[in-house]
Amino acid sequence: MAERLLEVKDLKVQFATEDGIVRAVDGVDFTLDRGEVLGIVGESGSGKSVTSMTILGLTRGTNARFEGEVLYKGQDLITQSESRLRDVRGAEIAMIFQDPMTSLNPVYKVGAQICEAIRAHEDISSRNARQRAVELLRQVGIPNPQQRVDDFPHQFSGGMRQRAMIAMALSCNPDVLIADEPTTALDVTIQAQILELIDKLKDDFDSAVILITHDLGVVAEVADEILVMYAGRVVEHGGKRDIFYDPQHPYTWGLLGSIPRLDRPKPERLHSIQGSPPSLINLPRGCKFRPRCPHAFEKCQEEPALENRVDTKGHLDRCWLTLDQKRRLRETTIAGEAQEVA
C-alpha cells in the first residue's frame, strides 16, 4: 500500500466578518496517498479552495478559526508554527493557482521566481538554482528554456505561464501538489495539455495531487478519487467510477447533467441546477442542498450524515433518498429532461 501523505480529519474553517460568521468549510474528511490524484469538485463558494489553502496555512489570519486536523505524514499542520509551515510550503506541499496571468510577479523574470522558490528551501548557489530552473522549464515543456528563463511573465502566453507555475511548484520536489482550478483560465486546447502534464509529472516526481475544479470533465481525465463539495461540506465521496457511473447525490447528478454530452440527443438548453449556492452565514436547516433539490422531501429537514449507503466500499454520500428512488430519479436529472418532485 502506498504511503499515506495527507489525512484531513473533520476540518472546519470559519471566518468572522462584519455580517456574521462564515462557515467556509464545515467538517471535511479525506486522505491522500502517494501517487494518488484526488479531485475536489464544487461550485464557487463550496469551500474547495479554502480547504486547500488551509492545508498550507494560507488562510491564517486574525479573523479565521480552525477546527479538526490536517495530518501531513502524521504531523498536524493546523497547530504548527508559521516558521515550521514555511518549511512545508513549496518544499513538501506546493500549490498552483487558477489565474496564471496574475499569479506571477510581473517585475521579476520567470527564472528568477523559480530560483527564489528553490533557494527558499535549499542552500544552493544562484548559478545551480538557475540551471535547475532551466531544467524544470524543459520538463514542463517550455521550448528554448535556456533563453526563456530570462523572459518576464508578460512575454509568456497563458498556457506557458501555467507551465512555469507548475515548474515553480515542482522545483523542490514536493510530495503533494495542490492545483486550484489550474485550467479554468486557459483555452480548452491548453487545458488538456496542462492536465496531461500534471498527470505525467505526478509520476515523474512521485508525488500526489489534489486537483480542485468546478468542472467534472477535468477530474474525469485524471482523478482517482473524487470529493464533491457543497456549502462547505462533502456531499459525495467515492472513486472516479462510482461518481460517474453510480452517482448518489442529487447535487452530483446536477453537475453531471450540466456537462454537454455527445452520446445523448442534444437538449433544447443545457441543463443547469436551479438557484444559487446558499449564503455561508445563514445556512439552510437540514440538508444544505434542500432548497435547490428537485427531489427534496420531509426527511430532508434533518441533515443526513456522510455515510456508505451503497454496496461499493468507500463510496459515501449525504442523501436520504432510497437506493431505488435514486436509480429511478437520477437518469432523468442527468439527462436534464425532468424536474419532477419525488
Partner: protein, 327 residues
C-alpha cells in the same frame, strides 16, 4: 530604445517652446499697461518715455519682442560678455534675471535635495509601518499624524518652527535662517538647513506615506503575493521583494514631479520663511513688485525641471516595470 529617447527629447523641446510662448503671453503681453511708463517714474517727459520704449524695444511687434526676449534669456545662460540690452533684465532693478536665478540655485538645490531625501525615506518608513499594521492602533496614530502633516500650511509650520526652535529660546537649538554655502562650511551648511529641510518635507512625508500604504494594501491582495507565500518565503522577504517592490513603482511618478516642482522654485514659502535666498525666494520678491521678467524667467526655469524630470520618470519607470519597456 534609442528611438524612444529621441522621441522623448523632441517632445521635451516642443513642450518647453510651448511653455515659453504661453509664459510670454501671460506675463508680458496680457498684463497691459506700458512698462516704459512705469520705468520712467512719476510725471515723466513724453520724450523720456518714448526713449525708454525704444531702448527696451517695447515699440516692436510682439513676436519680435518674444524672439528678442528668448534670445536674451539664452544669452544669460551661455557665459560670456554681453551688453546691457543683450541679456534679460528686470524691469525694476535692471539686474540680469538669469544671473539672479543662477545665484539662487545652490540654496534651492541644497534645500530640495536634503528635503527630498528626508521625505522619501520617512515617507516609505511611514507607509510600510502603517501598511503592515493596517487597522491597528499604530496605523491610526500614524494616519492622524500624516493627516496633520498634510494639512499644516508650510508658512505657519515654518514660522512656528523658527520661532520656537531658533528665535525664542535663550540657547537656540538651531540657527535662525539664512543659507551658508556648502563650499564655505559644510557643517554650518547642514546645521542651517535642518529646519527648512524638515519644514518642506513634512507635507510630503504624510502624503507619500498614505499613498504607499494604500498601494501596499492593494499589492498584499495580489495573486503573486499569495504565490510568494505558498513558495514558503519568509514574511520579510514577501514584503520586501513582492509587496514593497511593486508598490514603489507609482511613487516614482509622484516623486519625480514633486522634486522637479520644488527644485524649479516651488519651495517659495519655505525659502521665504527661512530667508534662504534661493530661486523660490527670488520669485517671491519679484511677485511682490510685479517685476515681470524675473517671474517669467523663474517659470521657464521651473518648467525646464518639470520637463526633464518627467522624462527621467519615464526612463526609471521602464527600468522598474518590464511590462512597459519599449522593445
Amino acid at each position: 530604445m534609442l528611438a524612444f529617447v529621441i522621441r522623448r527629447l523632441i517632445g521635451m523641446v516642443a513642450v518647453l517652446f510651448g511653455v515659453s510662448v504661453l509664459v510670454y503671453i501671460v506675463f508680458i503681453l496680457i498684463p497691459g499697461g506700458d512698462p516704459a511708463e512705469r520705468m520712467a517714474g512719476k510725471n515723466p517727459l513724453p520724450a523720456n518715455v518714448a526713449n525708454i520704449r525704444h531702448q527696451w524695444g517695447f515699440d516692436k511687434p510682439f513676436y519680435v519682442q518674444y524672439v528678442r526676449m528668448m534670445e536674451k534669456a539664452g544669452n544669460g545662460v551661455v557665459p560670456g560678455k554681453h551688453g546691457e540690452f543683450d541679456v534679460l533684465r528686470s524691469f525694476d532693478t535692471r539686474q540680469d534675471v538669469v544671473r539672479e536665478i543662477k545665484k539662487g540655485i545652490p540654496a534651492t538645490m541644497s534645500l530640495c535635495i536634503g528635503a527630498a531625501i528626508i521625505w522619501l525615506f520617512l515617507g516609505i518608513v511611514v507607509g510600510v509601518i502603517s501598511a503592515v499594521n493596517a487597522g491597528k492602533a499604530l496605523d491610526r496614530v500614524i494616519t492622524t499624524l500624516a493627516l496633520i502633516g498634510v494639512s499644516m500650511p508650510v508658512f505657519w509650520l515654518g514660522i512656528v518652527m523658527r520661532y520656537f526652535l531658533a528665535e525664542k529660546p535663550a540657547h537656540p537649538l538651531f540657527p535662525d535662517g539664512e543659507y551658508v554655502p556648502l563650499t564655505q562650511d559644510p557643517v554650518q551648511w547642514a546645521y542651517h538647513l535642518v529646519l527648512p529641510w524638515f519644514c518642506l518635507a513634512v507635507l510630503f512625508i504624510g502624503f507619500y506615506g498614505r499613498v504607499l500604504r494604500s498601494n501596499m494594501l492593494d499589492a498584499m491582495n495580489e495573486d503573486y503575493v499569495r504565490t510568494a507565500k505558498s513558495k514558503g518565503l519568509s514574511p520579510g522577504r514577501v514584503l520586501r521583494k513582492h509587496v514593497l517592490r511593486n508598490s514603489l513603482i507609482p511613487l516614482v511618478t509622484l516623486f519625480g514631479l514633486d522634486f522637479a516642482a520644488v527644485l524649479g522654485g516651488g519651495a517659495i514659502l519655505t525659502e521665504t520663511v527661512f530667508d534662504l535666498k534661493g530661486v523660490g525666494w527670488y520669485a517671491a520678491q519679484s511677485v511682490g513688485s510685479l517685476d515681470l521678467p524675473p517671474i517669467m524667467g523663474v517659470t521657464l526655469y521651473g518648467a525646464f525641471f518639470i520637463v526633464v524630470f518627467s522624462a527621467l520618470v519615464d526612463f526609471v519607470y521602464a527600468w522598474l516595470d518590464p511590462r512597459i519597456r519599449p522593445t
